[in-house]
């Protein structure tokens, strides 16, 4: 019996139910109200996420809820530890920012329901609800349903503009995502057949180092890697994220692609914590390193800004997987007390803010200039100074320069690599930072030069819209003030919790 439901556990239900109820209202009331419903729910969702984080922090314990009062293994449990709470607050804040930005991108006309606004707001709310379900899910099959919900919400966002190019990208995304789901389900059936439960906490108690467990974890991890676009399963990401409208790209690169990574972390550190996996962790790290190098190099060669940013996502996702070989704590055996654990999670959070800001900045630039060719960016710095500044701040995080969350994350990965004696990852992190600097500089250098001829603007962008982009970029900067030590919040709720950093 994995304990009992804790007080405040109902908040977990609200986190999932609020956005999804919003979807139902939007569809029933009609597209004219979809934006209003979303904008009402956004602050409410932030309150719920912060409340969950505060409860986890105060009780220093996992927030747990058994749906319908049925205990696992028969029923389904929701659990929020420090890691879940961090991701949920990130998602809530990011969705708010994206929502504010999208208000002006997709204006809702009076009197008539139009396709794009209804579809966008409904899908955005669904992505939010599905993400929360992934972050608090405690049952592997429930997580499968949540992943499918996330996929069905994300795929149509890619093809929102209806062009053949984006339809193709959306179809390819769907194929990769379905492939990942099938592999995940295959692993789940092996786990249930061998251990009789799909509850994460119960599984961690029953799992043994036997071929069935290895096979199941390998299958599920492979499936999740396809969804997370880790090299070499990254082919679907650049056209999909570049082809979507700017607010959609922001949510896809910032949040949607982090959910499968979150589940790999859950699988490796929660379901099979004690099993020896050094070789497999090195494989994951190697794929991450390949993603960093490959993604950054290809980003350098891009002609279009949005594709450059999309390949940058491929690269930055690679950093996340460096967490696996490095989160090995020899003395206590607690991975979550290592610098790599905090570094990996911080990378996920700061990349979310930075990449969302960069995609939204690219969207504003494309709207102002009428195109997003990097070669034609000259003069944009004068026209959209706030936007370009926000882009630069996001770039700081990608490069790993202070002050930014990306700096803290990469510095911690570096120290973890050196401390663990696995210096090759340090080389990769440093190289990745240099390459990121190159492609960010590529864009900024063009943007701040003066145009030879006066720019003919396709549209005027108000400072208010640019301010939202800047706010998100500042979010990534604010994370740079996180101390360079393992973070206590992220260790709450881990089994046999050992808090590393003194307060």
């Amino acid at each position: 019996m994995p304990g009992s439901a804790t007080a405040g556990g109902f908040l977990l239900i609200f986190a999932i139910a609020l956005p999804l109820a919003g979807v139902l209202f939007s569809l029933a009331l009609g597209g004219r109200y979809a934006e209003r419903v979303a904008l009402i729910l956004m602050p409410a969702g932030v309150v719920v996420a912060v409340a969950i984080g505060a409860t986890v922090w105060h009780t220093h314990d996992v927030l747990q809820y058994f749906v319908g009062n049925w205990d696992p293994p028969l029923g389904v449990a929701f659990r929020a530890d420090g890691l879940s709470a961090t991701m949920m607050v990130t998602a809530a804040l990011l969705i708010c920012g994206i929502g504010l930005f999208a208000r002006t991108q997709l204006p809702v006309p009076r009197g008539v329901e139009e396709r794009a606004p209804l579809v966008f707001w409904t899908l955005l709310l669904t992505v939010w609800g599905a993400l929360n379900a992934v972050f608090v899910g405690g049952d592997l099959f429930n997580l499968y349903v949540a992943l499918e919900l996330l996929t069905f919400a994300a795929v149509p966002l890619v093809s929102l503009d209806g062009r053949a190019q984006t339809l193709r990208a959306a179809f390819r995304y769907l194929l990769f995502a379905l492939f990942g789901s099938i592999l995940y389900l295959l692993g789940a059936v092996v786990l249930y057949g061998t251990y009789g439960t799909l509850d994460i906490v119960l599984l961690s108690g029953r799992i043994r180092a036997e071929p069935a467990a290895w096979a199941a974890i390998s299958l599920m991890t492979s499936g999740l890697l396809a969804k997370a676009a880790l090299y070499p399963l990254h082919l679907w990401l650049p056209p999909a994220h570049a082809g979507a409208p700017a607010p959609a790209s922001a949510v896809l690169s910032g949040l949607v692609v982090k959910a499968p990574f979150f589940l790999v972390v859950r699988l490796w550190f929660d379901v099979m914590p004690g099993l020896p996996e050094h070789a497999a962790a090195q494989v994951l790290g190697a794929l991450g390193a390949a993603a960093i190098i490959f993604g950054s190099v290809v980003a350098l060669r891009q002609v279009r800004l949005k594709l450059l940013i999309a390949y940058s996502t491929v690269a930055q996702i690679g950093y996340l997987f460096l967490m696996f070989p490095l989160a090995v704590e020899p003395e206590t055996g607690h991975p979550w007390s290592t610098a790599a654990w905090t570094g990996g999670v911080l990378q996920a959070v700061s990349h979310a803010f930075a990449k969302a800001a960069m995609f939204m900045a690219a969207g504003l630039i494309a709207e102002a200039l009428g195109h997003d060719r990097i070669a034609g960016l000259a003069g944009v710095g004068r026209v959209l100074p706030i936007t370009v500044f926000a882009f630069a701040l996001g770039g700081l995080s990608l490069m790993g320069l202070p002050p930014s969350g990306g700096f803290v994350a990469k510095a911690m990965l570096l120290t973890a690599a050196v401390a663990a004696g696995q210096w090759w990852w340090a080389v990769v992190v440093l190289t990745g930072g240099l390459l990121a600097g190159s492609y960010v500089f590529l864009v900024l250098a063009r943007a701040v030069t003066d145009a030879i001829e006066p720019l003919s603007l396709a549209a005027r962008i108000s400072p208010g819209r640019q301010a939202v982009v800047l706010a998100l970029a500042l979010g990534a900067v604010v994370l740079g003030f996180v101390p360079l030590r393992p973070l206590e919040l992220l260790q709450i709720g881990r089994p046999d919790m050992a808090i590393e950093a003194p307060r």
């Binding site: 139910a17 319908g68 028969l74 139009e114 349903v145 057949g193 009789g196 069935a212």
Partner: protein, 311 residues
């Protein structure tokens, strides 16, 4: 045992033919046959609920969807000369897939004996749910949150499909137009079959609480009848912006959420049912959910809006 071996070989044979067939339409027909055979397999595995779902949804509705698509995509399904895979790729794939199948088969044989199972727990708690069908108990009580999320998944798939419509036909009628030909055999069959099918669907939904059946199976049959009526031209697909259609689609998940939240007050947890009225509460969820799912499934097959006028 011999029957099972024969059935398994037949399923694999038809599946292999589905992969190997040259023409997409032939492959789809093979797939429908495979689905029906698979339903037989489910009966042999003592899973009649799944057999019903596979026959109606996995074979019937999916087959209908794919047949319609293969007819419309006929020209796109002929591969360009450079696209057909070479012998090397085929050989490598054969090796990879054989290894995967062998590995899975090994895992199946290595499954622990006695098999871990939740059947005793499910049987022990079923009295509290007031149901007689343990699978329905799992779907509507123990793991009701899965079913709730699944209704939302269906609805979102529909929104995703609708999003594909061009802006100018948004809110219009889904799918290509079907002219009703009063003398055709299809119209005659539909007029005969649809009312019977509706009754069968309702019956299967109703008995699902104590016998094989339930909301998904019943809803699929209702959806199939609706599609048949639409194809035969007996009814026309409603425009997707109609308020009543939206309310119908949303009613099921909304009731599910509503009763879930009512569980906070009545039984102390989300989606918990009061001990004495559990079956009634479950029924209150199942009726709108069945109707919503039936509408959603039908519209999923109909596709995105394609025209703004009836004709």
């Amino acid at each position: 045992m011999a029957f099972d071996i024969g059935l398994a070989l037949l399923v694999l044979g038809v599946a292999a033919w589905t992969i190997a067939a040259r023409d997409t339409f032939a492959a789809v027909v093979g797939f429908v046959a495979y689905g029906l055979l698979l339903a037989l397999v489910w009966v042999r595995l003592q899973a009649p609920d799944i057999a019903l779902t596979e026959a109606a949804l996995g074979s019937g509705l999916t087959g209908g969807l794919l047949v319609g698509a293969s007819a419309r995509l006929r020209h796109a399904e002929m591969p360009a000369p450079g696209e057909t895979p070479g012998a090397v790729l085929k050989l490598a794939s054969t090796v990879l897939c054989t290894l995967l199948s062998a590995g899975l088969a090994a895992i199946v044989f290595l499954l622990p004996e006695p098999a871990p199972t939740l059947a005793p727990q499910a049987a022990a708690n079923i009295a509290a749910t007031g149901l007689g069908n343990p699978v329905t108990a799992v779907l509507m009580a123990y793991r009701a949150i899965d079913t709730l999320l699944e209704t939302v998944v269906l609805l979102l798939a529909l929104v995703g499909i609708w999003s594909l419509a061009p802006n100018r036909v948004w809110g219009g009628f889904p799918g290509p137009r079907h002219q009703a030909d009063p003398d055709s055999a299809l119209t005659f069959v539909a007029q005969l079959l649809v009312p019977i099918g509706i009754l069968v669907g309702i019956h299967i939904f109703w008995v699902g609480s104590v016998a094989p059946g339930g909301e998904f199976q019943g809803a699929t049959i209702l959806a199939t009848m609706w599609i048949l009526a639409m194809i035969a031209g007996l009814v026309s697909a409603p425009p997707v912006s109609r308020r009543w259609l939206r309310l119908l689609l949303v009613a099921g998940p909304a009731m599910f959420f509503g009763i879930g939240f009512a569980g906070f007050l009545a039984a102390d947890a989300f989606l918990a049912y009061p001990e004495t009225h559990a079956k009634l509460v479950i029924l209150m969820i199942e009726i709108p959910v069945t109707l919503s799912i039936a509408a959603t499934l039908g519209l999923l097959v109909a596709g995105p809006p394609e025209r703004i006028t009836q004709q």
